[in-house]
Symmetry: C2
Subunit: 282 residues, 2 copies
C-alpha cells in the first residue's frame, strides 16, 4: 500500500494509472475505521482496478463546540486494516496540505443541506461538499464510495456530482450494523456501556415508523411523531429530529407513498448518533 | 476538427488522449469569436498537445433584462475560424445537455464576486463559477485559457481552481485591442459608428488613472475619481464603476502601492463595456 500525504503524490500515481487505462475507486473517510468502512473498501474493490482510501478529519465540516478535537484518530491501526484489505493507496494529508490558506470558495446545496442534520449543524454540509469536491478533484477516481448511514451526505454528494458534471460514479453502500442493530459509527466509541445499550433505540424507533407505515399510516408528520414517541421511551436518549423525507430531494413527505427515507438524530448521553431506513412502500 | 455536442463525446475523446499521454488546453467561450479569442486559441496551442474550444452561451450567468437573447451567435463562422486555427475539438452543447434539470448546487466566491461587475450583475459570477466548474469537469483539460479583459472573471476562476484543487492550470492572456485601443469584445458589435468612436473613452480613462499614479497620486479613491472624470467628458458614455483594486483579491486599494488593477465599466449608448489595466507601481 502506497502511503501518500501530498496532493502531487496522488496526482502522479493517477497519471500512471491513466496511461495503463486502469481505474480507481476512492473511499473518503475520517479514519477510526470500523467494519462499515471496510465494507465500503470491499465494494470499491469490485468496481475498479485500484482501491484508494483517504483519511482526513476535515475541520471545515465541524462546527464550534463539536467534536473535531476529540474525534477518534488511530492512523496506525487504520493503516494495518487497509493494507490487509488490498487497498493500493492511502491518502492521509495534513490540514495544511488540504487548506494551505483559508478558502473563499463555497460549494452549497441549500435545498438539500438545510434540513435534517443541516438544521442542527450549520455549515456542516457546506464543509462536506467542499472537501468532497476537493478530494474528487485530487484523486480523480472513476468511482467514489460512501455509506448509507450518512444518507443526507450521500444524497448531497450524488446531486453535487450530477450538477457539476463531476466525472465520477457515486456508489452508496448499505449501513453495516452491530448484532443488536446499532449502526456502526466511529462515534460509538464515545458511549458508556449503559449508553451503548440505550443506543439501540434509534433502530427501534425507525422500525416503529416502518411498522406504522406498513399498517397504513401515510401522514408524514404522524410517522415522525411515532418515531419520536419510541425515542422518548428511552430515558438516556434525547431526540434531535425524526424525519420522513423523499430519499433524493430530502424534502418532507406530506404523504408517504412509494419511496420514503425515515431518519433520526438522537443524543445518547453526550453523544450524537444518526440512523435511517429506506422504505419502498407498495 | 471534431464537432462534439455531448458530454459523453467529450469524455470519450479525453480518455483516448490520456491513454496516449496527450494533454488538452481548453478555451471556454460564448462564441461570436473575435481576434481576442483567437489569441487565446494560439496561446492554448503552445501549452498542450490539443486545443479544445467550447462555445456555450451560458444562461445562468445572464440576469433578467440582460442580453442573453440577443447575444451575438454565428456558429458557422466560429467553426470555420477555429478549424483554420488548428483546433482539435469544438464542444458546442445545448442548454439541455448542460442543464438537463435546474441545478441546486451553488459555487460562489462572495469576497471576489461581490464588488466591481458583481455589484451590478447579481448572480453573474455565480453563473460563471458554476459553468466553468462544469466545463472543467467535462473536458478535464490540463490547461484552461481565459482573457484578461474579463479580469474579475479570471481572478475568480484562478481562486476557484486553487480552493477546489481542480487539476488544471489557469492561463490568462493579455487583452487584444483594436487599432485605437478599444478592447475586443463580442459586444462591440452592438455599437453604432458614433458609439464605436466614443467607446475609446474606456482606454483613455484607464490611462488617465495610470498617469495620475505615475505622477504620484496614491489614494485609491482619488485614482477612481480621476478615471470617472475622464469618462464624464464623453457625452455618449455613462460610468457604471471605476475601481482601483488588488489584482488577486479584488479588494479596493486604499493606497496604490506595488500592483494595482484599474478597471471600468461604462455604458456607451445601451451597450455595457468593460476594460482594465494591470499596473506594476515602482
Amino acid at each position: 500500500m502506497l502511503n501518500v500525504t501530498t496532493i502531487a503524490g496522488v496526482r502522479s500515481r493517477r497519471r500512471e494509472l491513466w496511461q495503463r487505462a486502469q481505474t480507481v475507486a476512492l473511499v473518503p473517510t475520517m479514519g477510526a475505521l470500523h467494519d462499515g468502512h471496510l465494507r465500503l473498501v470491499d465494494r470499491a474493490g469490485e468496481l475498479a482496478d485500484e482501491v484508494w482510501v483517504s483519511i482526513f478529519v476535515n475541520p471545515t465540516q465541524f462546527g464550534p463546540g463539536e467534536d473535531f478535537e476529540r474525534y477518534p484518530r488511530d492512523l496506525e491501526r487504520d493503516r494495518e486494516l487497509l493494507a490487509t484489505r488490498g487497498v493500493a493507496l492511502l491518502f492521509n494529508p495534513s490540514t495544511k496540505e488540504m487548506y494551505p490558506r483559508p478558502g473563499v470558495t463555497t460549494v452549497d446545496l441549500p435545498e438539500l443541506a438545510g434540513g435534517m442534520c443541516g438544521a442542527f449543524r450549520p455549515g456542516h454540509f457546506q464543509g462536506v461538499a467542499l472537501v468532497v469536491t476537493k478530494l474528487l478533484a485530487i484523486a480523480q477516481p472513476e468511482v467514489a464510495v460512501f455509506g448509507a448511514k450518512d444518507w443526507q451526505q450521500s444524497a448531497i454528494i450524488r446531486r453535487l456530482v450530477e450538477d457539476l458534471n463531476l466525472p465520477v460514479r457515486v456508489e452508496v453502500v448499505p449501513t453495516v450494523r452491530e448484532a443488536d442493530g446499532l449502526a456502526m459509527s466511529s462515534r460509538n466509541a464515545y458511549l458508556t456501556s449503559q449508553e451503548r445499550q440505550a443506543a439501540t433505540v434509534l433502530q427501534r424507533a425507525l422500525h416503529a415508523g416502518e411498522e406504522a407505515i406498513r399498517g397504513g399510516l401515510i401522514d408524514g408528520r404522524a410517522v415522525e411523531r411515532r418515531i419520536a414517541a419510541t425515542v422518548a421511551e428511552e430515558p438516556l436518549a434525547r431526540l434531535q429530529y425524526a424525519a420522513a423525507v423523499d430519499p433524493d430531494t430530502l424534502q418532507p413527505l406530506g404523504t408517504v407513498t412509494r419511496r420514503a427515507l425515515l431518519a433520526v438524530a438522537v443524543h445518547v448521553g453526550a453523544t450524537r448518533l444518526i440512523d435511517n431506513l429506506l422504505l419502498e412502500v407498495s
